[in-house]
């Protein structure tokens, strides 16, 4: 019996997978996209009013990964026994068609140009010795100028709202002065400032910083993208993060790509299909297809393909590479191997300021990608010389719509009551009159922070869980503390009656129990040296040249920005080179 064959198999139906599937079907390939979760459409998961139910949505985690089937184990250091991440908390991967792209907020950044060549930039300015011992600081191997057309394309597909600073070398507006040059404006005008965002904007200006509007993949007006997919205008309902947008205003693969893709006769989407491994030939240098489990029938199915795209969530991509034997697993002791190397996260701390009781911050009003930020302490935008750390952090007010259960659970602690009458009073005051300010920063890669397979725990399919070895390091803790200290003058200028500035503390280990961010990265990074990167600069596996691995797994270090815009640009970048070069002559695009 012959196996079913496709020209290309795409694993994972999120942003990266949908972009690759779209590009490859446009190139005339037959494409099968496998998604382990269920089918999802706005007509069902986004139907008002069920879609805006906080308990069912963000609290019971309707759209997130079901850990009962598979999870990861986590430890802080190599000496510890990693334990399973049994309850969703610190990070929230998606599941189902759309992936994390269905439940994301919509903050749609590009990249700080210097972040793509961070090692080179740090060495040029401060010398090699500035890099701390054990930090695997690396360049991406691709420049901002090379990626710019793909950032532009992604913004047009996503219907991104924003205000540019510089287009084709000409200053055009009040955007971020630290941004790289753009070839075009945002496709949609900037979203309005909420009251909290305008308060922050005025105060940051007064404090001498350079505020800008967050680029938001929340549509400021109706929009039809290049694929003919339509978006409706956002009404600031506040149900972005953790929800399927009932107004078709937040960009998602489900709204912005799949409606066009589903019409292509060359495209097949199979949901409830959990990929177990990429099948390799005897030389282990060529993929022959994939084997997946039909989760509804528990039947194993093998498909053959000429090209395999891994585009699952960051750590699922790395997990699949390890399970399939793609590349050499990273070993932190011998410092060899690349699959699992440079696993990174982001530093995020949320501070809060209170305005006088006459001012209502109406925190339930918002949109996931909307807000005002400063980049004065992000990337290489400030002098690190006297500070002695690498990296940085934007600071922002990003009022995405604060719901009552989340507010109630999060109020109290740090010496203030978490229950009882005093707690109730503080909760009401905080909900009505406060503003959240985040420092959402970089996280560097370290020799002893990595991903591998767990020796003990298995998933529902009998395969070893992925193991994370991760904790906060001194460099990143000091960076976070420095940036958080810069919030103080902003709080003063806001007329705050009280401020609670929150930062990481020296020696503080990573804690899996509290939500931080889902912006995990690295583990199969892109680069120019096969000894330190699993992928070449086109996100092609150095070891198995008909496998491309698309996602934030490719980031050599965690950047201060939200990753989705960068993931989308890298997806279009890889797709472009597959279409223009690889398909004409399959094989390595870069010689190792």
């Amino acid at each position: 019996m012959t196996k079913k064959h496709a020209d290309a198999i795409v694993v994972g139906a999120g942003w990266a997978g949908s972009i690759l599937a779209k590009e490859l079907t446009e190139a005339g390939l037959s494409v099968i996209m496998l998604e382990r979760g269920s089918e999802r459409t706005t007509a069902v998961e986004g139907a008002y009013p069920d879609s805006i139910d906080e308990l069912r949505g963000a609290i019971r985690k309707r759209l997130f990964q079901n850990l009962s089937q598979t999870t990861v184990t986590v430890r802080n250091t190599i000496e510890q026994t990693a334990l399973p991440y049994r309850q969703l908390a610190a990070f929230l991967p998606g599941e189902g068609v759309g992936g994390a792209g269905l439940h994301w907020s919509g903050v749609h950044f590009r990249v700080s140009p210097e972040d793509l060549r961070l090692r080179s930039s740090v060495v040029e300015r401060y010398g090699e010795k500035f890099i701390p011992e054990g930090m695997n600081l690396q360049d991406y191997g691709v420049t901002y100028a090379e990626l710019e057309p793909f950032f532009d394309k992604a913004e047009k597909v996503f219907g991104t709202s924003g205000e540019a600073y510089r287009v084709n070398g000409k200053i055009v507006g009040n955007g971020n002065i630290f941004d790289g040059d753009r070839s075009d404006n945002f496709p949609l005008p900037v979203m309005k400032d909420t009251f909290t965002a305008s308060t922050f904007r005025a105060a940051a200006t007064e404090a001498g910083y350079h505020p800008y509007s967050l680029p938001a993949a929340n549509a400021s007006s109706q929009y039809t993208n290049p694929y003919g997919c339509q978006m409706g205008p956002c009404n600031f309902c506040g149900y972005c993060s953790g929800y399927d947008c009932y107004l078709y205003s937040k960009a998602s693969p489900n709204v912005n790509i799949l409606p066009a893709l589903r019409q292509d006769p060359g495209f097949t989407l199979i949901s409830d299909a959990h990929v177990l491994r990429v099948d390799l030939d005897d030389t282990r240098s060529k993929a022959t297809g994939v084997t997946y489990l039909e989760t509804k029938t528990q039947k194993e199915v093998s498909l053959s393909a000429d090209l395999v795209i891994l585009s699952a969530f960051q750590f699922h991509n790395v997990h699949l590479m390890l399970l399939s034997g793609i590349g050499k697993p990273y070993d932190p002791i011998s410092n060899t191997g690349t699959t699992g190397r440079n696993f990174v996260y982001q530093t995020i701390t949320s501070s809060r300021v209170w305005l006088p009781p006459s001012k209502y911050t109406n925190q339930f009003i918002g949109a996931g990608g909307v807000g005002v930020a400063i980049d004065d302490f992000n990337s290489m935008n400030f002098d690190h010389g006297p500070l002695g750390f690498v990296g940085g952090s934007p600071v922002w007010v990003n009022q995405a719509g604060v719901k009552p259960i989340a507010a109630a659970i999060g109020t109290g602690g740090g010496g203030t009551p978490r229950w009882g009458s005093a707690y109730k009073g503080a909760l009401i005051d905080t909900y009505k009159h406060s503003i959240g300010i985040d420092a959402h920063g970089s996280n560097m890669a370290y020799r002893d922070v990595y991903l591998d397979l767990d020796p003990t725990w298995k998933d529902a399919y009998g395969q070893p869980l992925l193991r994370m070895t991760f904790t906060w390091k001194d460099n990143d803790i000091r960076m976070n503390q420095y940036v958080v200290s810069k919030i103080e003058p902003i709080a003063k200028a806001m007329g705050a009656t009280k401020a609670n500035l929150v930062h990481l503390n020296a020696g503080q280990p990573f804690d899996t129990r509290h939500y931080q961010t889902t912006h995990l990265g690295g583990g199969a990074v892109m680069g120019t040296d096969p000894k330190t990167s699993a992928l070449n600069r086109y996100l092609q596996s150095w070891d198995v040249s008909n496998v491309f691995v698309i996602g934030s797994n490719a980031f050599p270090q965690g950047m201060g920005y939200n990753p989705t815009g960068m993931v989308a640009a890298l997806a279009y970048w890889a797709a472009y080179h597959i279409r223009t070069t690889y398909l004409k002559s399959p094989g390595p695009l870069v010689q190792a």
Binding site: V44, L55, I59, Y360, F364
Partner: protein, 236 residues
């Protein structure tokens, strides 16, 4: 006669799901809008706990009221129906830990690596309440619900601080479970049995399912002027 359209003040009522509510089978077929209507209907009735025993239910009512008391700020857990909410949640997939990774071995480790017990929420309540009532009787000679507020607060403070062991369940773990579910019950949509008469949302100024704020994106710090509405159309 066909059902009438729902209005802002009169939720749509339907009876065909009667009896299925609270059972797992109901939740499994619940991916459509009837689910909200059915839950809303159920939330209107006098409540008989199905998971908790009467004694356990008295404990949950009393403990939730101490955690979220009636006071000058507004209604407490009892008025808001928090115990009913928790009882109903125990019969939902959540109560059975449906999206928790529950594979052995269960190895205890540092707290920051997260929950590592072999118990789902239903187990935590059953074991936690039994353990805490044993502790309460030893310390005070009465069950929790019969103690004065000050003694109840003292017990909850000890529980939160980690100085009480409840047999298989660390006191702090049970405290966090109780606190989280109490706050969920105070502020979830009323269709789950808590937040009765939208009392939780009124207290916070949260407008519920309005979900359209184009008129109030930025009114220079003026309070949002409209009261809450629930998913089923109840207003307050």
């Amino acid at each position: 006669m066909p059902p009438k359209e729902p209005t802002l003040t009169r939720p749509l009522r339907r009876s065909f799901v009667k009896g299925l509510l609270g059972s797992t089978s109901f939740w499994m077929v619940s991916g459509h809008s009837h689910w909200a209507e059915a839950l809303a209907q159920e939330a209107q009735k006098p409540y008989q706990p199905t998971f908790f025993t009467p004694d356990e239910y008295r404990f949950v009512e009393a403990a939730a009221e101490r955690l979220f008391p009636q006071d000058q700020h507004g209604p407490g857990a009892q008025t808001l129906g928090v115990a009913e909410f928790i009882d109903r949640q125990m019969e939902s997939p959540y109560g059975h830990g449906d999206n928790w990774y529950m594979s052995a071995p269960f190895v205890q480790g540092p707290a920051n690596l997260g929950y590592q017990l072999p118990f789902v929420p239903r187990d935590l309540y059953r074991k936690g309440i039994a353990g805490l009532e044993t502790y309460t009787r030893q310390q005070h000679g009465k069950v929790f619900a019969d103690l004065p507020s000050a003694a109840q607060e003292q017990i909850l403070t000890a529980l939160e601080g980690g100085s009480v062991s409840l047999g298989d369940v660390p006191g702090r773990v049970f405290f966090e479970q109780l606190r989280t579910n109490t706050l969920e019950g105070a502020f979830a949509d009323p269709l789950y049995g808590g937040n009765k008469r939208l009392g939780g949302w009124l207290m916070l100024g949260f407008p519920g399912a309005r979900a359209d704020f184009m008129d109030w994106v930025n009114q220079d710090g003026e309070a949002y002027p409209f009261g809450p509405i629930s998913l089923s159309g109840e207003t307050a």
